[in-house]
């Protein structure tokens, strides 16, 4: 393959709220059976990028656990592999990754030791399918210095001002790039996927480091947009970012739509994830499931409606779960009522628990009860 992959999975965001208390955003469970980073990892694997480095920083334990083996995404090859580079203290450096460019710079040896001519940089919090090979083709055809993948969002899809907003000329060259603007001047947002020649990246990173600049977007894309040929490449299929509570909730709920499910679950290529060896889901008498996603290992005794139930969840008798997301390994005692909530993984809800959020603001439920052995 012509390129190596780097997944920036280090960022945190206070708009994801307490859901990032115990995990990096890239490790957030999505669509019942997956973690956010599975989408990007599967894209890499399906684009035949066989050497991929993940750069986590914030709360990496859960992510590292998920990445404990590379076999799920078919990376464990003699040529290539899946590397996880958490920040380390060295003789020359004793700080955390101070930004995306710094995270790349601190792993510049990985770039220097590779022989592939191109680098594909991506984030770990996007839900989409993409053949990066196509981006690379366009990058080469245009003789670009950097290619930035963007998509066009409707105002109702997400809050545009939390993204990098771009304007392009008729040749798709980026003429304006504003990171997290106060007011979005266009509906084209960067999805955080960049293609760049490896030697060029090394040169830019070394220069940034000399100038004490640390952010890839501000200090490279925005700063160089007039002097370097930075092109856009449009992704016109489904793409969502899950880094806020609102978008996380909406993206999960999107999977209740048949076209979204068919696109991700049935069309080539597949999205891969770590296999948990759970038994199939079980529905006892009294279960009632309407317009919902249920994952393996669940035992359902109550009523579930318009909800996403992740793996290994127990729902007791006479419960009602409505418009909610129940994350992995939650136990919900009998007679509970949950509406418009996200229930944090491994929670134990005692019988008769009531939690109700609103349509505008979903409630994040975090309970620390001890689970009784049944």
């Amino acid at each position: 393959m012509k390129s190596i992959g780097i997944i920036l999975a280090g960022g945190n965001n206070n708009r994801i709220g307490r859901l990032s208390d115990k995990r990096a955003i890239a490790a957030l469970p999505v669509a019942g059976s997956y973690r956010a980073i599975d989408f990007t990892l599967s894209n890499m694997s399906n684009s035949r990028v066989s050497k991929v480095a993940v750069l986590p920083q914030f709360n990496a334990r859960s992510l590292n656990e998920h990445l404990s083996s590379s076999k799920w995404w078919d990376f464990g090859r003699k040529q290539g592999g899946l590397y996880v580079f958490t920040p380390t203290v060295t003789k020359n450096n004793n700080s955390w990754y101070q930004g995306t460019a710094d995270a790349l710079y601190q792993n510049i040896d990985f770039l220097k030791k590779s022989h592939e001519p191109y680098v594909i940089i991506a984030t770990g919090d996007g839900v989409y399918k993409m053949d990066y090979g196509k981006v690379l083709e366009a990058h080469i055809a245009k003789n670009a210095d950097i290619t930035v993948v963007y998509t066009t969002l409707k105002d109702t899809d997400d809050d545009l001002t939390r993204f990098g907003v771009l304007k392009l000329d008729e040749n798709e060259r980026i003429v304006e790039f504003e990171e997290k603007p106060l007011v979005a001047s266009s509906n084209n947002v960067s999805i955080g996927v960049y293609v760049i020649r490896r030697r060029h990246l090394i040169e830019i990173l070394e220069r940034c480091a000399r100038e004490d600049r640390h952010d890839f977007v501000q200090d490279v894309l925005v700063r160089y947009r007039n002097v370097r040929k930075i092109y856009g490449y449009k992704l016109d299929t489904y793409w969502r970012n899950i880094a806020t509570v609102d978008s996380y909730f909406k993206t999960n709920m999107d999977f209740l739509k048949k076209d979204v499910r068919d696109y991700f679950f049935k069309q080539y290529p597949d999205v891969y994830s770590k296999v948990d060896d759970l038994p199939p889901a079980k529905y006892n008498t009294g279960a009632e499931v309407k317009n919902s996603i249920i994952s393996s290992g669940c035992i359902v005794n109550g009523k579930v409606e318009n909800s996403i139930i992740f793996k290994d969840v127990y729902i007791g008798n006479n419960c009602t779960i409505k418009n909610s997301i129940i994350l992995n390994d939650v136990y919900i005692g009998d007679d509970s009522y949950i509406e418009n909530c996200i229930v944090e993984s491994r929670d134990t809800l005692r019988p008769g628990t009531n939690y109700v959020g609103t349509d505008d603001e979903v409630k994040i439920v975090i309970e620390k009860n001890v689970r009784y052995i049944l």
């Binding site: 038994p279 006892n284 309407k290």
Partner: protein
């Protein structure tokens, strides 16, 4: 030097003809079970959970599915540098090439495989039972008793005992006599077909009996060892053990999983059953779906109604379809308005719109009355059932059928279509 204390030899070559059309394209151990598993997952998971990391799987009849399923053993953690899982089909030799003619003959033909690991003990397993068993406990029992051979036994109900191969033991569980399906049983301890042999004993017996046609453990090897005075112990296993060798037993074992707290529980953390997972996405239930007492596999979409059924992975139950008391295996599609009652439908079948399965009065199957009984409808892998047909009980269908195969749109009870 390469050395393993105990290795397992898993006999997976049989057709399992009593499962009828379910095994027309695959060996019995590769038949699906419980919405996610294949029968061979149980002995394979038992091996790794018991600390046995070297398993030879002997294949012969229709091995493709089995080979694909087992691969290099990743799902069971049997991908090892030394040992792991090896698939052992019959092979051509410089002289006396032969198929596996019997259980013991199959093991005999793989003598070199076993010798490579210098085992102290060899455990012989079958691939046709659903159970969780710690073979390590059996080995401890074997060692403690200084046995040459230990045979696992299971106490069956006295009224059924005459259907089994039985052992008669003394008070220390040493076996005194064997009885094969006796009219008047004197014991209810049935042999489970699981044997631990001291390596030297096994090797000597197999070499001595190498000329025996159709050499079989139960019929030849064990009697031979018994006769020459080897100490043979009975290890009485007391957990769940279910033979799924007939369609009725197979159907019942699946249905038992649906109970609120099933006797055989797949949901315990302890002693997980591993399998190759091909389908990762979760399952979906539409706003109009109904579900009652079911087990459902990953990636399945339910728009109709399912009750008392075991549904595999990647299945689609369309609007208005009703599935009751049935087993539906992976990637099968039940079209709109179809009614399925007490059926076993294998992988990748398409049941047409408004087709009805399992209707009419029961009648004995004309083709193989002993195989297709219990009122079940059995549909083989890859079959197509056209729209609007009515199909009776004790029926077997395999192949892509069209409306012409159903005069007046009916296939009466007891009929079969085998393609």
């Amino acid at each position: 030097m390469i050395k393993k204390e105990m290795i397992a030899m898993l006999l997976a070559g049989g057709q399992g003809s009593r499962l009828g059309v379910l095994t027309s394209k695959l060996a019995k151990p590769a038949v699906a079970f419980g919405g996610k598993y294949k029968i061979i997952d149980f002995p394979l998971s038992n091996c790794i959970n018991s600390g046995i990391d070297t398993v030879g799987v002997l294949t012969q009849y229709q091995p493709l599915r089995l080979n694909q399923h087992i691969g290099i053993g990743i799902p069971w953690d049997l991908d090892r540098n030394i040992g792991g899982v090896s698939i052992l089909p019959p092979y051509e030799k410089s002289q006396n090439t032969d198929w596996y003619t019997g259980t013991a003959n199959a093991i005999y033909q793989n003598m070199e495989f076993m010798e490579y690991y210098h085992p102290d003990y060899v455990i012989i397993l079958g691939g046709d039972h659903i159970y969780k068993m710690d073979y390590e406990l059996m080995l401890e029992f074997h060692k403690k008793n200084n046995a040459q051979i230990t045979l696992a036994t299971y106490e069956v109900p006295w009224e059924d005992a005459s259907r089994f191969g039985l052992v008669i033991t003394d008070e220390n569980n040493q076996i005194l006599e064997f009885e094969e399906k006796p009219a008047n049983p004197r014991s209810n301890k049935a042999s489970m077909g699981i044997y631990i042999f001291n390596w030297e004993v096994l090797k000597e017996a197999l070499e001595t009996l190498s000329e025996q046609p159709g050499c079989d453990f139960g019929m030849h090897v064990i009697p031979y060892c018994h006769q020459r005075g080897d100490k043979i112990m009975a290890y009485n296993y007391q957990g769940y053990w279910k033979d799924v060798g007939t369609l009725s037993a197979y159907w019942e074992a699946n249905m038992e999983l649906i109970d609120i707290i099933p006797e055989f529980n797949l949901y315990e953390e302890f002693w997980r059953i591993y399998t190759k997972t091909d389908v990762i996405p979760p399952q979906y239930f539409s706003a109009d779906s109904k579900v009652n007492a079911c087990i459902v596999g990953d990636g399945t979409e339910v728009y109709g109604e399912i009750s008392n059924s075991v549904i595999g992975a990647g299945v689609v139950i369309e609007e208005g379809a009703v599935v009751t008391n049935s087993i539906i295996m992976n990637n099968t599609v039940i079209k709109k308005g179809a009614k399925i009652e007490k059926s076993i439908i294998a992988e990748s079948v398409e049941v047409g719109e408004n087709a009805e399965l399992g209707v009419f009065e029961e009648a004995e199957n004309k083709y193989k009355p002993k195989v297709y009984s219990g009122g079940l409808v059995t549909i083989g892998e890859g079959s197509v059932i056209p729209a609007n047909v009515k199909i009776g009980k004790n029926v077997a269908i395999v192949g892509k059928t069209t409306a012409e195969d159903y005069p007046d749109g009916i296939l009466a009870s007891g009929e079969s279509i085998i393609r």
